[in-house]
């Protein structure tokens, strides 16, 4: 979208329409996949998170003009992309890191009703 300019804003904003349709489709697909299929929980989680990431990228690129820069002044576009990518890295570290660190070890936690937590624990229940 680097050359996104007023001149191109005549007529129907296809990009936005396509983005919108895609996001609706992806959402419906995610719901269907999560609730109506019989795959294992892990696969389901993997797929729905994958879909979420694709949708987020869609918003950033199609709606938010992430890569757009101010041509007169150099490269904000690159700064913006770098910033969001680093944000993504930090997000993964925070979420995955916290879950990993806080669910490893600590033997004999109270049994929980979530199947998911049990699974993560069973491998490391005893300090092996």
């Amino acid at each position: 979208m680097a050359n996104h300019a007023a001149a191109q804003h005549k007529g129907i904003p296809w990009k936005h329409v396509v983005g919108f349709v895609l996001s609706i489709v992806l959402t419906l697909f995610a719901i269907w996949f999560a609730l109506e299929t019989d795959l294992s929980t892990n696969i389901k989680l993997l797929v729905i998170f994958g879909l979420a990431i694709i949708q987020a990228a869609l918003q950033l690129l199609m709606f938010m003009h992430l890569t757009e820069n101010s041509r007169t002044q150099g490269f904000s576009g690159r700064i913006q992309i770098g910033n969001i990518l680093f944000g993504f890295f930090v997000a993964i570290v925070i979420v995955v890191g916290s879950v990993w660190v806080l669910s490893s070890g600590h033997a004999e936690k109270k049994p929980t009703n979530g199947e998911h937590e049990m699974k993560m624990d069973s491998g490391s229940m005893n300090h092996d």
Partner: protein, 646 residues
Amino acid sequence: MKWDEFFVTGDPLIYGADVSIAITMLGIVFFLTYFKKWKWLWTEWLTTVDHKKIGIMYIISAILMLFRGGVDALLMRTQLAVPEMEFLDSQKYNEIFTTHGTIMIIFMAMPFLIGLINVVVPLQIGARDVAYPYLNAVSFWTFFIGAMLFNISFVIGGSPSAGWTSYMPLASNELSPGPGQNYYLLGLQISGIGTLLTGINFMVTIFKMRAPGMTLFRMPMFTWSALVTMAIIIFAFPILTVALALMTFDRLFGSHFFTLQGEGMDMLWANLFWLWGHPEVYIVILPAFGIFSEIIATFSKKTLFGYKAMVWSMVLIAAYSFLVWVHHFFTMGSGALVNSFFSVTTMLIGVPTGVKIFNWLFTMRKGQIEFSTPMLWSLGFIVNFVIGGVTGVMLAMAAANYQYHNTYFLVAHFHYVLIAGTVFACFAGLVYWYPKMFGHKLNERIGKWVFWLFTIGFNICFFPQYFLGLDGMPRRIYTYSEESGWGPLNMISTVGGFMMGIAFLVLVYNIYYSFRYEPREKTGDAWNGRTLEWSTPSAMPPFYNFAKIPVVKGLDHFWNEKQNKEIKPLTTQDLQKIHMPNNSGVPFVMASFFFVSGFGLVFEWYWMAIIGLIGVLATLVIRSFDYNNGYYVSVEEIKETENITK
């Protein structure tokens, strides 16, 4: 709540503090009234958006906080000087180390560095101000108000006492009742807003406001360090914001994030705190690295060795700082795999840091080293920081950490890095840029006294603590028995602590002495500098910094110009009218509303909190509708300011 619960009572220390606060307040009011300075205070300082003045206010606040934190430190050292000392009781001691740690890191180290960044970075990149001058004022005032809110806990309501790490469930309502812990939460929260805004502000400033020709790899190292630091701030501070908010909810609204009840998880607090806390320690060391880089290059009269390697190692340290937080709780039992992983990542940070250390050494090689006071602090830094760094690596070896954790070995480590790194850098930067801020140098002879007193005192104070740690002395104990055998080393340590205190007093005296007796600078280039801040014709740059924005041709541009005798005096032809932002009282007012709101929450007076919040929102709306774009400085005025006759 009764008055005697509201005001802290019953302790001579507190009454002393009450009295001295009252006297100081009255003194200030009297001074301002007598010399008719109220208007001056308002127009020149409280409403200013000039980055140099904001920087100076940051630094002054930080020095005040250094004093407060330092008094705390000396009280602790007095209590620990001999076994079974009866000077402070347990509760007082706990409050004091809590406020000491919090104040030193959040309200002293960070603001000091941010102050120096404020003063110097726009000048170094050849800009007239920061990207958002108004926001900069908001940053300062929210920091200041946060710090004040935290500090009044000493006399109103009681201080927090759960350590600067405030581990849960200790910090919960059940185990730490009363307003103390709320002060911690809200003081940090409010000043954290300011820090985050500073992060965004300077990142944009450095990316977007550089003088023409100054590519990223022509930026001075201090500017680079500021840029990298701001990136860490932007991504680390929101973590603290959330963590503090969650604990606030636990304490005020009955949620169960970290509590014992409702299956809350205390480890989660530790996890979130250090997810922010470790990047935080790099926030306070990277600008220090930048300061030393400038000073070492200047006083070796030589360009930096391995400029690019320096830059990349900082970038690496910044990214890495998000991958090591677990080394603060190896002993929590997250299993061998987790501990091994974080052991190795932590030790790896030593590598880029080492690259920097060696690059400083090789910068001096083939130089012509001049032992000015700022340079002495930098040399002292190298010698002492390495000790702190390598003991950090020892701490990082998880299996051994089980024996060092929570002991004075750790206390020694972090004072070696924080003092020999950050505090030395603050002093070095203060002395180095003093002429830029105040138009005269600090006296060199007294300055060297300060350096030697402080450095020697510092080593006497903290070196023995490594051995105390290995001898099993835990941190945060308020006293110990004769049989423990820790008495002698503690005594030595205390003596060193007081030496540092004396050094601090001499430093303050030096400020007074130099104000009276030091000759005023006649040029803008007090130290034969290399970077653009030294290129202004007058010692203290005018409010618009540069009458004509320089065009940069390379690294060390100003130095090269001097070498090649390319500097020409300004003429009228060079001048154009300059656009500058207006002063504004709104940031100060907004911060005051934050104070009202914070104070209300501390005591759970919700009506007050809501009034404050409405005030904050109102100031935001007012600002949104404000289309005042500043004003222009006419060529005539510039001519006059710059003394241009032609």
